[in-house]
Structure formats: C-alpha cells, structure tokens
C-alpha cells in the first residue's frame, strides 16, 4: 500500500528473566499492518500471544521488550511513557482475549462495564455512556439489549460474552484491534458468527485487525495476510489465498498434519521439527 502503515514493527524481541535463566519468547520479528486483517498463527510457545501483548506494552513484570522500531500511527510505542500508553490502550488500540469469563469483571453487570469503557476515554456522563453502551449492544447483534445490559458475566454464554467484549473494545472507536484467540473457547458455529461480526466492524470502521490463533485454516479463510510463527520467529509471511502453495517446510508440515474431512484413514504425516527453523 502506498500510504504509511498503521503499525510498523521491526526486530521485536521479548524476553523473560526466570529462575532457570533468560527465556526469549519473541526473537526478532518484523511486520507491518495497514487497514487489513492480519493473522498471526503458531502453536503454543511460538510467541504469538506475546507479540500481541508487546504491542500494547502489556508484558508482565519480569519481561523485557526491545525493538528497532515499534510505531503506531507515528507514535513511538517503545519510548512512550506509561501515561501515553494508557491513553492508547483501549482507546486507539484495543485487545480482546480468549475467555470472556475471565476477562470480564465478575461483579459488575456487563452493561456497566461497557459504559465504563466509554467513560474512561471520554468525558461523557453516566446517562450518555449508558445510551452508548446500549447502542453498542445492538451493534454487536445482541437481541434484547436492555435485558442483557443488566446481566452478570456468569449469566451469559461464551458467544455472547465475546460479543460483549467486542462491544466494550469497540466503543472508544479504536484504529487497531488485536484479538488473541478470541474464538478458541467457542463452538465452531458460534466462532464463525463472532468472526463475521468482527469482519463487519473492521470493514465499517476502517480498522486494522490482528487475529492471533493456533487454527491455521480459520485464519487463512478469514484474514487477508498470514504470519506463521515458530520458536519466536516468523517462518513465513503470505497472502491468505496463497496458503496452500506455502513454501516454508514448517507451514507445509502444519498443513499436512491436519486431519481432513475428505481425507483417508491412514496415518497423518507427523511434523518433523527441523532444528534449523530455530536458527533462521
């Protein structure tokens, strides 16, 4: 794209100090994001979640983020102070996580949490925030939004909980949304419905979306571009439509070891981990 990218990351490294030594979760990755849907795919330990958190500088205490460049819309995310980051988080860059049962406050009604998200980043009063929250509930296609407003997180199903998270994260109208395994805890039909909602939101508002997942097929069918991560590094970057002609042996290996609906009963080809992948 000709215009400047929304997010630009160069040589990002995330490491943690543990009693057993230094563990490097992300080992030098580069990527850019425009107003598109970018998928980051990897298995556990690949560093994909830490990448998403590093962008928002949400790495826990004993972790360190280093990069040659980490820029969002002209703002340097590496050197921004905590106050600046707080004004960015939830406001210009939002994040949805995996299980709404754990990411929603269990002692507040869902409606009041959405309203709170609005008031944190604007000077709105309670009535206005409540109206906006009700509007958002409608936007995320929750029927009976008045009734749902007053429910507690444990009273809503997983799919509805994720819609509520999306409402909460969209209400301040961010430019970039990071979704970390947003549908992994959901049934497959609900997963797709939530993704369709995300799709509409992204399209209507011209947002950028980073979708982090372990499900290669889902990401490839939903996103525009895909980054495949392994061992803290990016193995391959490709356009989603080119997934089945992927070059890298790790990507190919992952694709081949998936059981297919129209496949045979034979033994699945097992992924041979090439130690060279860790050195690339």
């Amino acid at each position: 794209m000709a215009d400047t990218p929304l997010l630009s990351v160069e040589d990002l490294r995330v490491s943690f100090n543990t009693p057993k030594g230094v563990v490097e979760a992300v080992r030098g990755i580069d990527f850019e994001l425009g107003q598109e849907r970018l998928g980051i795919v990897g298995e556990s330990g690949s560093g994909k979640s830490q990448t998403g958190r590093a962008i928002l500088r949400l790495i826990s205490g004993n972790g360190r983020i280093e990069a040659k460049k980490m820029e969002f819309d002209g703002i340097d995310l590496l050197s921004a102070n905590e106050r600046r980051m707080r004004s960015i988080r939830g406001n210009r860059i939002s994040m949805i996580m995996q299980d709404p049962q754990y990411s929603l406050n269990p002692v507040m009604t869902v409606g009041s949490q959405i309203a709170e998200a609005y008031r944190v980043h604007s000077k709105a009063g309670r009535r206005e925030a409540r109206d906006r929250a009700l509007d958002m509930l409608e936007t995320v296609r929750i029927r009976e939004h008045e009734k749902v407003y007053n429910l507690y997180p444990h009273e809503v199903s997983g799919g509805m909980g994720q819609r509520i998270m999306i409402a909460m994260m969209l209400i301040p109208e961010p430019d970039l949304m990071i979704a970390d395994e947003p549908t992994s805890a959901l049934d497959v039909t609900v997963q797709l419905q939530v993704l369709a909602l995300l799709d509409d939101m992204v399209r209507e508002r011209g947002m950028g979306l980073i979708l982090i997942s372990h499900d290669l097929n889902l990401v490839a069918s939903f996103c525009d571009r895909v980054l495949v991560m392994y061992g803290g590094r990016i193995m391959e970057t490709l356009d989603a439509k080119d997934l089945h002609s992927a070059q890298h042996s790790y990507t190919r290996g992952l694709l081949e070891c998936l059981p297919q609906l129209d496949g045979s009963h034979g033994a699945l080809p097992v992924l041979k981990r090439d130690p060279a992948w860790l050195e690339e």
Partner: protein, 258 residues
C-alpha cells in the same frame, strides 16, 4: 460390544433437575471405532461418563460385553473399560510421578509383575524410561496425554472411551496422538468411543459417527457418508459447513437448532 438403549441422564435434584441426555440409543460392535460429535452442551461427554460409571443419575439400559450395568460398577468392569480425558493438564495428579500414576491401577487390581508392565506401558506410547520419575509439570502436553493413554491401557481393557483426547493439544502434537491411538487400536483390537467437537478428527479416526445436539441423538452415519457430505439432517450439514472455515455467505445462513 456396547449397547445403549433409551439412556436418560439427569443433573441436579428436585426443581433444579436438568436433563442432559434424552433417550439416547446406539450400539458399538467389538473392535469398532465410534465417534460422537456435537457442540458444547450436546451431552456427548455426559453419555461417555454415564457409561464409565461417573454419573449415577441415569435411567435406561447400558450393556457392555453382554453385562448389563447398574449404577455401581463391579471391579472386573474396570479391567474391561477405561477412559482417557480431555485435559492433559488436569487428568494427571500434579504431585504424583509418572511411575506412581502407572503403578496405581496395578496396585488397585493387584497385578503382579509391576516393573515390566510399567516399562512396557511407557514403551507402547512412545516414551522412554527416563520419563518414569518425572512430575506432570515437567512434561509437555503431548507427553502428558501419552501418559494418560498409558494409564488407560495398563489394565489391558477391551474398550477405551476417549473424551476429546486431542482438543487441548497443538495441531502437530494432535497428529502424533491420533496416529498413536489408531495404532494401539489395531494392535490390541480395542473398541473406541471417541467424543469430539472437531468433525475432521472424528472423521479421521472413526468408522461410524453419531451427531448430538442438546442431549438428543440427531443422526448416525458412516465416515464415508460424512466425507461425501451426505448427511440428511440440517444440523449436521451446518456443522460440516462450519468445519470448513470462514465463509461469509454460509455463516449468514446459520440457524439455531433446538
């Protein structure tokens, strides 16, 4: 080998009773691999647990190897039927070593020749003796699931119930475990009932498949029929479409089935 007729499983008491499974009936032949597919709340895991004896609040008839089962299970039953659970992080006791975990069933049923049995069990699931005295937190997800499988097989059962055995595993590890399960079934002539929400996994491993929704059996078919998309019921069709990935038009057509 296994015959289930008019199984009804209830949770809770009195006013709070929920019927998790309604009038389920199916049969599994010896040596067959039977798959049970459904979304959350479909009752698939509940059926498995009722057969294993973990739920006692059920009515209907369950017969395994000709033996009609009641709420209590005789000791001999444990050597006939075993179970592998979903969560490799939760199905091994965090304070027990692998050795203890494998020794326990042998001790309960007073087997002799404990040493060789343990080493053989580890070997069968592809783990060497160096794993023997590790604790679960020193094992990866795939290794833990192998131990869970070794534990299930150490009593030499003829039936193994598999409750989403690969759902919590990485894709590459899933392939290894599915291959392992397949090989073990062939080598030992085991009968499997596998529960999963993942149609592709079930189609791969199972010969016959049943679909459940909200506690009811919707449809039964062979894997061939599933593969060629010849299910009749709308719910199964919808699941099949959803399993293939993101397709916007199809999603807009999704319907709630009650």
């Amino acid at each position: 080998m296994i015959t289930v007729e008019n199984l009804n499983v209830m949770f809770g008491r009195g006013r709070n009773t929920v019927q998790a499974v309604r009038n389920a009936s199916f049969a599994v032949a010896e040596g067959e691999s039977f798959g049970l597919v459904g979304e959350s709340g479909s009752g698939k895991s509940t059926v498995l647990r009722a057969i294993a004896g973990l739920h006692t609040h059920w009515t209907g008839s369950i017969k395994v190897d000709g033996m009609a089962l009641t709420q209590k299970r005789p000791r001999a039953f444990r050597k006939l039927l075993q179970m592998v659970f979903q969560d490799p992080f939760g199905s091994l006791h965090p304070r027990h070593t692998v050795d203890f975990i494998l020794k326990e069933p042998l001790a309960i049923h007073r087997f002799d020749t404990v040493e060789p049995r343990i080493l053989k069990a580890l070997d069968e699931v592809g783990l060497g003796p160096e794993f023997r005295f590790r604790y679960p937190h020193q094992l990866s997800g795939g290794q833990r699931q192998r131990i869970a499988i070794a534990r299930a097989l150490i009593l030499e059962p003829r039936v193994v119930l598999l409750d989403e055995p690969t759902s919590a595993l990485d894709v590459s590890v899933q392939a290894e475990i599915l291959n392992l399960l397949d090989r073990l079934r062939r080598e030992h002539g085991l009968t499997y009932i596998m529960v999963s929400h993942n149609l592709a996994v079930v189609a791969h491993l199972c010969e016959r498949i049943a679909v459940m929704n909200r506690g009811v059996f919707v449809e039964e078919m062979t894997d061939e029929q599933l593969r060629t998309s010849t299910p009749i019921h709308g719910y199964t069709q919808q699941l099949l479409v959803a399993s293939k990935g993101y397709d916007r038009e199809a999603i807009d057509g999704f319907v709630e089935f009650t």
